[in-house]
Symmetry: C2
Subunit: 381 residues, 2 copies
């Protein structure tokens, strides 16, 4: 069996690194064909030495100039957005898409034509442009595997071909789930960033605390599997061991469970349809465990409903709400607004924009940009 | 679609009644062809009126004489062991085997030739004669569905075709799980019979408290699925919502979950391979839930290891340990011995018997009888 050639988009981020670990631990199965990063040249050069890829892409042109002379002979370097387009057109067996933010949309959309197996760690592109992405994937018979642990777990449960009646995403509740409304008004960025179970990037950690991240996952579920919003529920499960639950029509529940470690869904998405080989997997049930489940307190976290209301209207609102949330979270992290203002900005922006159809990546990026402008306008008031 | 013709063995017991409820709630799918009970003529007559079966079997001959004139015209009555043999040779679409104790073995073994879909609620026959039963089922292409909730849940998990690395049966721990060794010496039958989560017959409730029942389920798992004893674990889960857990080779766990209600596995086994239709199935996750998991404390409940040690030797020991346990439990319930003596009898009997191969139902019944005699001898000392 030939090793599968892999492209890693966002190789210097935490998901990209984990994906490289998975590939490196099983060289019979995987060989690294290309690495792509935004601007972290030091980390990328290390990776190039270790994984010996044929192609390298640095999106930031200044960083690309810096790295050029340091690359081993024969390595092909791409840079800038046009370079990213070229890199996204390389034929490979598997792509791991771990670029963060809406910047992932363009390379993802292009890559669907060239690589038939994509492990997709990016959430924003699916939220903003799910229809476009999955329609194109269908057209090119490209398989997109979700890396997000909840969605990945739903994928696994649905593959069991159970007669699904309801899907449940679990939510850890983030860092602030037990805070009172009075406390929530005064929380600092440091408090929000202390996530109880997952180590993740800053934006997703804040989105976990507002429950906006969970609303995004409900949207992902709807996009990935074509499941009605009414058939998707959220259950608060503080321990993050149970990632997703499927209720079959006869009332039996199936749960997908593993300790909170992103290596698990990354490896699943890379190995699919084969069973992942993961070293040192712990036996969770050799010690005492406690799982709690509680209904989501939506009143306390209005961001959840605000995002889903926008999502159900569809079209450009999906792109807008994602863009606006990114601006709002940055403003909170830099101390410009307080925690409860994040949702106010979301509400404000989505109420000011007309609801429009979107038919292209350019449409999505236009509304992404419009929403950012509106959000900035609100912040300047 | 024609309604499927059903035979119910043990129709007046709790599993038999639940199976009839399932059939009655879906008359398009099921029609009751035959009912079989041991001696409860009053309950059986009620059932005959309601379900209108063509065949009736009363194993106890005296009871059969009583009921004969009360049966509606045209109903065929069988009685005695030879009548049970005839009843077991009726061709039907589905049999529900809910006769308790080793008495189920003979009709089950015969019925495998005539009915291709058997929902098997009896544990003792599988423990004592698993090889014979499953070899014959294979020969006649008869599908045997386990009704025992843990084994039924494993069946469902294994059907997902996961690459199974380990199976876990959950144990509620029974009524005495938090008792100290000193308390265990003095427990009364009433204390043992107060099972925290399941309403069941007396013997299985006592077997739950000694953990002998869980050892029997480990044996069932080995027999039903051909899984090595080393790959079967027991996890204490006091709430009885999670019935079984499968660990895939990559370390992901899948759990089968429903509130403790035997209607669920009974309906699954009757409807298989179709999804069961069950009315008023509750949504478990609309309220707060707490699940605990802890490793089994084997030192406190030596019956678990004693039974499994015997089981691993195989042959006649499996029949013997089951028979001996039945005698011991009866002795405990009638106040002849104390709780901790149950295991002592098991140990005593299995150490006194030679280990022999068994090749027929007659062999099994011989060793069943021998073990009972040895157990009674011990009790008389």
């Amino acid at each position: 069996m030939m090793a599968k050639k892999i492209l890693i988009f966002g190789s210097t981020g935490s998901i990209g690194k984990s994906a490289l670990d998975v590939a490196w631990a099983d060289k019979k199965n995987f060989s690294v064909l290309g690495l792509c990063a935004n601007s972290d040249t030091a980390a990328l050069l290390e990776q190039v030495k270790k994984y010996n890829p044929k192609y390298v892409c640095i999106v930031d042109e200044q960083s690309a100039l810096k790295i050029k002379s340091c690359l081993p002979k024969g390595v092909v370097l791409f840079s800038g957005l046009s370079g990213l387009d070229e890199f996204s057109s390389i034929k490979a067996d598997i792509s791991v898409m771990a670029i963060s933010g809406i910047a992932c949309l363009r390379p993802l959309y292009r890559n669907i034509e060239y690589v038939k197996h994509i492990a997709l760690a990016n959430k924003e592109a699916v939220v903003a442009a799910g229809d476009l992405i999955f329609n194109k994937a269908k057209k090119f018979s490209t398989k997109i595997l979700p890396v997000d642990s909840e969605i990945n777990s739903l994928y696994q449960l649905l593959e069991g071909e159970k007669q699904c009646a309801q899907l449940y995403l679990t939510a850890s509740g983030g860092a602030l789930y037990e805070y009172s409304p009075a406390q929530l008004k005064k929380v600092t960025a440091a408090q929000v960033l202390a996530h109880p179970t997952w180590k993740m990037g800053k934006r997703i950690t804040v989105d976990s605390a507002t429950l906006v991240n969970k609303a995004f996952e409900v949207i992902e579920t709807n996009r990935f599997f074509g499941i009605d919003y009414d058939d998707i529920d959220v259950v608060v499960h503080r321990q993050s061991y149970v990632h997703a639950i499927l209720r079959r029509q006869d009332g039996t529940f199936f749960m997908c469970v593993y300790p909170p470690d992103m290596k698990m869904p990354i490896a699943h998405a890379m190995y699919h349809p084969h069973t992942a080989k993961i070293n040192n997997v712990p036996d969770a049930f050799d010690k005492n465990l406690l799982f709690t489940f509680e209904p989501l307190n939506m009143a306390q976290f209005p961001g959840f409903s605000v995002v889903l209301d926008a999502a159900k209207k569809g079209g450009n609102y999906l792109a807008a709400i994602n863009a606006c949330d990114e601006v709002a979270v940055e403003a909170f992290l830099s101390g410009k607004i307080c925690f409860m203002d994040i949702v106010k900005i979301l509400e404000y922006v989505y109420q000011r924009l007309p609801c429009k159809k979107v038919v292209s990546v350019e449409d999505i990026l236009y509304w992404d940009n419009r929403a950012r402008q509106e959000a900035v306008k609100y912040l300047e008031q």
